[in-house]
């Protein structure tokens, strides 16, 4: 995909170079059309293609953990403990491992991806301009919403047939009771205690 986009950019550069070196060629009708394609249509498509590629890239796990403060969170995905929610989702492919962070932390609403990008820009600012926080002290603004768990689990047989889930379903769907902080699934990204954890080593 990036290869095709780079080829498209190369064609645009060649066309734009012609009009930079010999702008007088645009007197003919065919060259005027070519100038419109080379200086308007193709560059606009390059912006759209570039934005699409960058947005898709920012959903990747390796992109999220490439920031220094996020590295311990990446390590926590390999903790060898079935009670550790992010680790068991990642290791058992309950979320796509290549975009594990995004699958659980995106806001599944119409403007969710846009809000995620704005949050990402704020984090880049904190990382490079302000003082990055201690990884263990990072908290999600507004808390982790049940909607992010229920996006996948709601309607799943094993989830709905569980008697505990069935008894408190209304509280879960209305976010009155948190999946994470109500004492049920409360072990997530325990980065403060990484030194004491045992880690799973993938075969590949």
């Amino acid at each position: 995909m990036i290869g095709i986009l780079i080829c498209q950019i190369a064609v645009s550069i060649v066309l734009a170079s012609i009009f930079l070196i010999r702008p007088s060629v645009t007197t003919g009708a065919a060259w005027k059309i070519l100038a419109f394609i080379g200086l308007c249509v193709l560059p606009a498509l390059c912006i759209v293609g570039g934005m699409n590629t960058h947005v898709q890239r920012s959903e990747q796990t390796k992109f999220c953990i490439s920031c220094h403060v996020m590295a311990p969170y990446g390590q926590s995905l390999y903790i060898d403990d079935a009670a550790h929610i992010p680790a068991q989702h990642f290791q058992n492919h309950r979320v796509p491992p290549g975009m594990a962070c995004y699958a659980c932390h995106t806001d599944y609403t119409i403007y969710g991806p846009l809000k995620d990008k704005m949050q990402g820009l704020k984090r880049i600012y904190v990382q490079y301009v302000s003082t990055p926080p201690d990884p263990a002290s990072i908290r999600i603004q507004g808390g982790f919403k049940n909607a992010q768990c229920l996006h996948c689990h709601l309607g799943a047989r094993s989830f709905e047939e569980n008697p505990i889930h069935a008894a408190i379903m209304d509280s879960l769907t209305s976010n009155q009771m948190s999946c994470l902080t109500s004492g049920c699934h409360d072990t997530a990204h325990d980065v403060a205690n990484l030194a004491h954890e045992k880690f799973w080593k993938p075969a590949q």
Binding site: A16, L20, L39, C40, P43, M51, F63, S66
Partner: protein
């Protein structure tokens, strides 16, 4: 200086320069896997390409197209 006095050639050269600079930066941002590459693309490369497109579109609006009629024929008809 009025915009229509600048001339089509100058507009095209400025537009091409901006578009080429933006596209080269876009290639760098695509090959560089880093959170800052998105910033480079969104705030520098896309802005330069957008400005290049804008300058090209301005050239279409503000610069009068040269007449297809040869200069000597125009003089004879006066």
């Amino acid at each position: 200086m009025k915009l229509n006095e600048i001339g089509m050639r100058r507009f095209l050269q400025v537009s091409s320069t901006l578009v080429i600079a933006g596209l080269l930066l876009e290639i760098v941002s695509l090959l560089w896997f880093h959170p800052l590459s998105f910033v480079l693309f969104a705030f520098v490369a896309a802005t330069l390409i957008g400005l290049g497109i804008l300058v090209y579109l301005m050239s279409l609006v503000f610069v009068a197209a040269p007449s297809a009629e040869p200069h000597n024929i125009r003089q004879q008809s006066r």
